[in-house]
Symmetry: C2
Amino acid sequence: MPRRRVDASLTGVNPATTLDDLAERLPAGALITDPIKLEAYRRDRAEDPDAGTPLAVVRATCTADVQEVLRFASATRTPVVPRGAGTSLSGGSTAVDGAITLSLEQMREITVDPVTRIATAQPGAFNAEVKDAAAVHGLWYPPDPASYTFCSIGGNIATNAGGLCCVKYGVTVDYVMGMEVVLADGRAVRLGGPRIKDVAGLPLTKLFVGSEGTLGIITEVTLRLIPAQRRPQTLVATFPTLGAATAAVLAITSSMRPSMLEFMDAPTINAVEDETRMGLDRTAAAMLIVQSDEPVEHAGVEIAEVTRLCEEAGATEVFSTDDPDDGEAFVAARRLAIPAVEKKGTILLEDVGVPIPALGDLVEGIAAISDRHDVIVAVLAHAGDGNTHPLVVFDPTDDAQRDRAHTAYGEIMDLAVGLGGTITGEHGVGRLKRPWLDGYLGDDVMELNHRVKDAFDPHGILNPGAMLLSAEQRETALTRRGR
Amino acid sequence: MPRRRVDASLTGVNPATTLDDLAERLPAGALITDPIKLEAYRRDRAEDPDAGTPLAVVRATCTADVQEVLRFASATRTPVVPRGAGTSLSGGSTAVDGAITLSLEQMREITVDPVTRIATAQPGAFNAEVKDAAAVHGLWYPPDPASYTFCSIGGNIATNAGGLCCVKYGVTVDYVMGMEVVLADGRAVRLGGPRIKDVAGLPLTKLFVGSEGTLGIITEVTLRLIPAQRRPQTLVATFPTLGAATAAVLAITSSMRPSMLEFMDAPTINAVEDETRMGLDRTAAAMLIVQSDEPVEHAGVEIAEVTRLCEEAGATEVFSTDDPDDGEAFVAARRLAIPAVEKKGTILLEDVGVPIPALGDLVEGIAAISDRHDVIVAVLAHAGDGNTHPLVVFDPTDDAQRDRAHTAYGEIMDLAVGLGGTITGEHGVGRLKRPWLDGYLGDDVMELNHRVKDAFDPHGILNPGAMLLSAEQRETALTRRGR
């Protein structure tokens, strides 16, 4: 008999109340308590030095497994940290002492329905695998975080991930039509579905996109697909000043919709050139990579217009190509930027965003912070979205420099918020940025966040401490304020 | 001194606790209790025969007015029904006995920032006014409900309104970046803002889009704009059978993204032809209107491909034009469909949607329901979205026919749900469709809806009875079930 996939009714079924009992209800080997094996699940890509140690890791194989874990967790008030591919840059899946880390890495099925033009995926499937499955049918799942070859679609949805193509094609939330979610008490519910328009009831599907595992565990998603992207034409422009480059960005975004509009500053260009020796201009203050995926004649018109706008803004050099391989080389260089900068030292990866007109002030302000604290900050940006990734680089053996780097990291968020921007554009708040969320949202909106959290997770067992203070942390904070 | 726009802090300010006191805190004439004047605010376009009579109508002029009303409402537990232009087709703003109807019709300011490419609008502004304000800067706000010349943007957001261009450009939620909301207790908060990517905190902005006034009162919205649409090319095809037309729809949607893909059946074609005498084929079982707004050469390619697909599916006649005026005549005919059918009798306007592959079964099932109950059902559809508007026509003086029409109306929703579809694609649940919501969503998802509702509106004063049962109705329902 095939393993039951979803435990629709919970009536009359008692939850496991001990880890041993829970282990027996799960497939053999799914529940891990071996300390050596647990170690691999303590940290995600944010490498949080304060990561805890899980009580256990469960590698779920199906929705029913997730339900068993949540029912156990609810009954015993055991916190649960959901984890996809562990690529969070904000510590969204950092382990918590005494919590179960619930890994979805084995739930990786994908099916594509080309007529309805949807993909149905389990949360552990990689973004690239969804793209590949769609491509078989001439279809495309656009969102493309830089980590798309190794990040999970469940994590993408938990953080409302973005990427390079978002400037024209939108972010993850624009592609999520429905999902199956296991609630804190172990019930599995379906939200939305393969209906392009559906306004029946509160839009709970959208509420889950970007909820960082704090409201429920996503066990399946229904994604909208669109026809395959046309082969893009590519332009690369270098600029003598940051101001000239950001002026070009504004000129472009106010008149057209390129399918890519990326920015790299001098430290980033040099780090990439160190790796690739592809001949990038090391003396440039900034570089833009722009693509148009319009039909071929019109793409030529768009790229010509971008050329004109870059030259008007003072570009030193503008190069364009309709050869997809030549173009892809520049995109690959851009995708290489983070690993290239990482070779220079340990990095704190920022993700601040501002309204487009403030992009120049943000980039120049970051340069000033870099100078003031004498740390390298390499800036790359999804410029067309106003979303930047300053990489604060420090020598991990130099304590003073580490401290200056952390100060710069915080000041960059303060700068962005002061410019009407956000502390995180696409990586999520996780545990790393939580201390800055209150200041950004303010007390009233924070209270709404907590009210919604409490409505879904009354016992505070879901990913405690990610995005929002855990119940214990809130208690402490309230006590400190004299309630 | 200019009138204070937002009452940021509520500390130390006592709310009004009588209508007289409330009236004094509002601009002269803003609070209306004259029964003759109230009459105009009892019903919206759904013409609910069970509409109540408001305790009072307040015509707010600014956010601070809305705050005064909500503070009064919270203090006195007075329900509040928000109302934009009163064009709800689901009774979303039907008056409730003893409630204040809070009209936003005077809050109509719009500003456009062409560099950030956003519009900031007050809720009472018409959709068409937002489009016009954007067009001044060569920009476009796509969502285009059929009522766009007289429906309010606040209502569009409350219902996550759709329209004709959504097949390519998405629905309202895809364009809402932020908003100001007055909460049940009178606090005004800002959610989101002019940041293309922003994942800091739970995505409450998206939660409000489609919440039908049940979570708070939207007093300002920030909308994303895109460059102006290119002049479209248009194709009209007629089909001898419903099946041939829906087969053509599937062939088109699975291979391309037209900017419009509309469907009309024989009763609709004939009603429109009665009005326009434009020479539509009265013998056709169905007609499709398709547009492509790709760059001119490519639009020609797309329209040629649609021609081929329609012919393959068995189209009787296919006509295409790149003359925008000729094309617009057909779009105008489509927009005229509802008023044209309304000339045939009183209508019950449906809004069911299904996954695209089920469109044929839905349309043919509706024809069978029409036959079975001997009532005319004219079907028009945003076919590319699987979203249909069956218009059930009846003679209001014929009680038996009216009953049969209501039976057919319910059966159409049951049919759609049975096909994996929704009871409402873009009009909202309102009061008319509320009895069908529980069956569609199921008990678990309904409970989540109520939990979220309670988190925002603990006293149940916001638009009670719209979308969700009011607190009283819930109490009664629970008592009836023996709790």
